[in-house]
Amino acid sequence: MSIHSIVCIKSVVRTAPDGVGRRTPENSELNPFDRPALEAALRIKESLGGTVTVLSMGPPVGVEALAEAQAMGADRAVLVCDAALAGSDTLVTARVLAAAVQHLAPYDFLFFGTRTSDSDTGQVGPQTATLLEIPFVSGVKQMEPREHAWEITRLMDDWQELWRVNVPAAVSIHPRFFAPRPIALGGIALAHDHLDVQNWRLADLGIAHDRAGLAGSPTRVAKLQKIVRKRSCRMLSGEPKEQVEALVELLTAKGVMGS
């Protein structure tokens, strides 16, 4: 068995933007929620053989996130980068990724993180799968190949579900169950000294400019504003037992505890 996995990754902005979000190599990183997805794909490759392709859409700075994925062990990297993509919302992102995935076919699995640390919509994975008309399982904890299908376990708060799916299929990976491997220094040297990121433009994917960027996006961000949360400290007094009771009462009143 040889599995071709495509892992969709994003180069995210590390610090909360205020006003306009600017991406520079210094403030960007590989989305932390994409690392478990990449880890899951790498583990499948290690146990069953095959290749792992990482795919990203975004500005040129995305090359660094792709190189990081290669340092972890990805075999091939593709960046869809085009000035006409500026202002794309999640639907356009899904449209572009779906077109790129079709160019990378055949494939078995399409991996996503559950969400991104900067925009946090969780929409791109399911939207891409919908456009590709393939099954999508979210919050995946485990993936096992069986004779005629894959068994995929997904986790929710208090229960789990077992799904049988045929490939090609899309999954988003629960971050708790695929702790990403630390990057070896040799992987960094290898990824950069033989950096091989394919650059695709919209024309390569046959997507017209009016279907991309702001023009193609039904939604747009009107305003970005940084929220500063105020923390306050309150000391409880009395014997330990009384303090615990007071704390439980407080947390229950705030809805943090209790049913």
Binding site: P25, E26, P182, L185, A191
Partner: protein, 382 residues
Amino acid sequence: MSEPFLNAKHRMLRRTVRAFCEQELRPIAAEIDQEARFPWEVMEKMGSLGYFGIQAPAELGGAGLDTVSYAVTIEEISRVSGSIGLCLSVHNSVALYPILAFGNREQHQRWVPGLAAGKKIGAFCLTEPNVGSDASAITATALPEDGQWRVNANKVFVTNGGIADICLIFARTDPAAGRKGISVVVAERGTKGFVVGDLEDLCGMRANPVSSIRLYDCMLPEENLLGRTGQGLAIGLAALDTGRIGIAAQALGIAQAALEEGVRYANQRQQFGVPIGRHQAIQMMIADMATQVDAARLLVYRAASLKDQGEPVGKAAAQAKLFAAEAACLVTDLAVQIHGGYGYSKAYAVERYYRDARVTRIYEGTSEVHRMVIAREVLAGQ
């Protein structure tokens, strides 16, 4: 802010090393200092990730990175634990590097893969009880006898001494030849006559097992000679040129850590109704600390970058080491001052940084010796 001398590879490396150190080293950094314990559990992980063979070529099991990468790695490790930064700086630059630079193919095959994977730890044995800055005065001997070297040596203050498997021993192979009679032979732990002395009880860098290493009529194979006979001081100087970049990076990492703690505390600690960072007296210190750290960083990266370009690096490395070591002592001192009484307590990390910084002005060439090196080159018009 974009940093000169660093490219995308170096940025990724910094993120990677920092993430690893924050996760694995930070939780134990204070404890291993207090217990003077070498953290094998973390070091084994670092071995499997390439930290013991930063610049060794991939075909010999190394990470195949450049000197700037080496400096960034040592800086980031030292930002969390000076002791571990020291272990890896010495292992990589004055043990592994001379074997790579002066060893023959057989020696590479024999020693480099184990060292690069961290399965073997290296040490550099030059200093003797009465031999410090004047390295040409060493008394250790390695005399030829029946196709072997009979080695007698008393080496002290050996970094990694308590755990070292492969030791570069500087000894006289021709006692009559003066400076030209000094050579390097490699001694492996476990050889008969190879004795590890007691661990030193040091002021700082306490998680590194610094010890003496003594060789008593230790018979080493002829093929353990590194380079040629009489080449010892040249090997030592070449190793120390590289080593200085590592120690400079180490001092830089400690200074960076102290700056961060100073800034954090200045923003947090309230006196006279405001955070102390609002007081000009503290601001003056913060400004000096930040400037010293930035200047040290530029000198360290410049020296590393020159080495990568194959340029002569003696003066640049000496300047980086001198400046970064002095800066580390100044910056950690100011960080303690900002913390007031708390800074003098082991409950706060700056106390450890203050102790760790001090030795960077002493080892791998004192600040005074580096001034000699710099002045000599400047006066010669270089």
